[in-house]
Symmetry: C2
Subunit: 138 residues, 2 copies
DNA sequence: TGCGTAAATTCGCCTAAGCGTATATATGTC
DNA sequence: GACATATATACGCTTAGGCGAATTTACGCA
């Protein structure tokens, strides 16, 4: 299915902005607008990078109303282990840890009837993020 | 000392040719000319990439006579673990495994009084590589 | 059904970086 | 000390890909 060579994955991850995005998503699933806010980047930029990450099977997207929730795609093969190693490595970088925290904060703002900016009643759990490089994922 | 951000390391590794070089060196320490032969690349190309890898602390160089032996720099921090994960991931790629094997073969040719092409009497151990993408590393 | 907002896509520009070629430096040999 | 070889470096070209700006598409709401 995947079998995409490691080179491919690395090429995808080895981009500062993309790495920041992955870093944030490692803290918690986020909407595009959240990433936009946390990383202070123009919306098209975020969107483009997310597209690339999606193609490389690094993230998974879940449309919710007019929003799209992105999350890290947890796999078990070599691909997944490599990704996990990258995420873990970022956990030792000060700047990355900071952004990860801000991402988690932003994520907590949802799930309490407060979607990105509008208000939606659908029961969407947003938690499940993992700080400090742990695992646990169904 | 290093504390070079993960982004830096990824940027360095996320280059097809460089990845191939690292892959070969994961099998065994090699001379520049060996890499040149195994990867079938012009010498300046190999040299340039090795320089980049050296700056990123991915490899270590050891001059021996007029040759230079390159080897993977085994570290223990996050940096080292990430590198190890990358190497391990490559062990699952067919093409990479093939080249790794050829690199090991080439490496075995030395250490028996048969340096790259000239003949040197200095006792230079060349073994120490690790194939089959396994672990086990002191 | 028209408006407002979220996200994706397109276009053109621009810079980073890899490559080939040529050359420089170091080291060993006769 | 001249020469041969191993490796490193310099230079110019070329291309991949990231970015800003504008536009399109999708969806919800009044």
């Amino acid at each position: 299915m995947s079998a995409l060579p490691p080179a491919e994955l690395l090429l995808t991850l080895a981009e500062p902005t993309r790495l920041r995005i992955v870093n944030c998503l490692a803290a918690a699933p986020l909407f595009v607008s959240d990433l936009q806010g946390v990383l202070d980047l123009p919306q098209p930029t975020v969107s483009r990078h997310l597209t690339v990450l999606k193609k490389a099977r690094v993230v998974r997207d879940t449309p919710i109303a007019q929003f799209v929730l992105y999350r890290i795609r947890q796999e078990s093969g070599p691909h997944g282990r490599l990704l996990q190693a990258v995420i873990e490595a970022m956990g030792h970088d000060e700047a990355m840890r900071l952004e990860r925290h801000r991402a988690l904060d932003r994520s907590r703002a949802h799930g309490r009837g407060r979607l990105p900016s509008t208000r939606v009643g659908t029961g969407s759990q947003t938690g499940g993020g993992d700080l400090s490089g742990g695992e646990a994922n169904s």
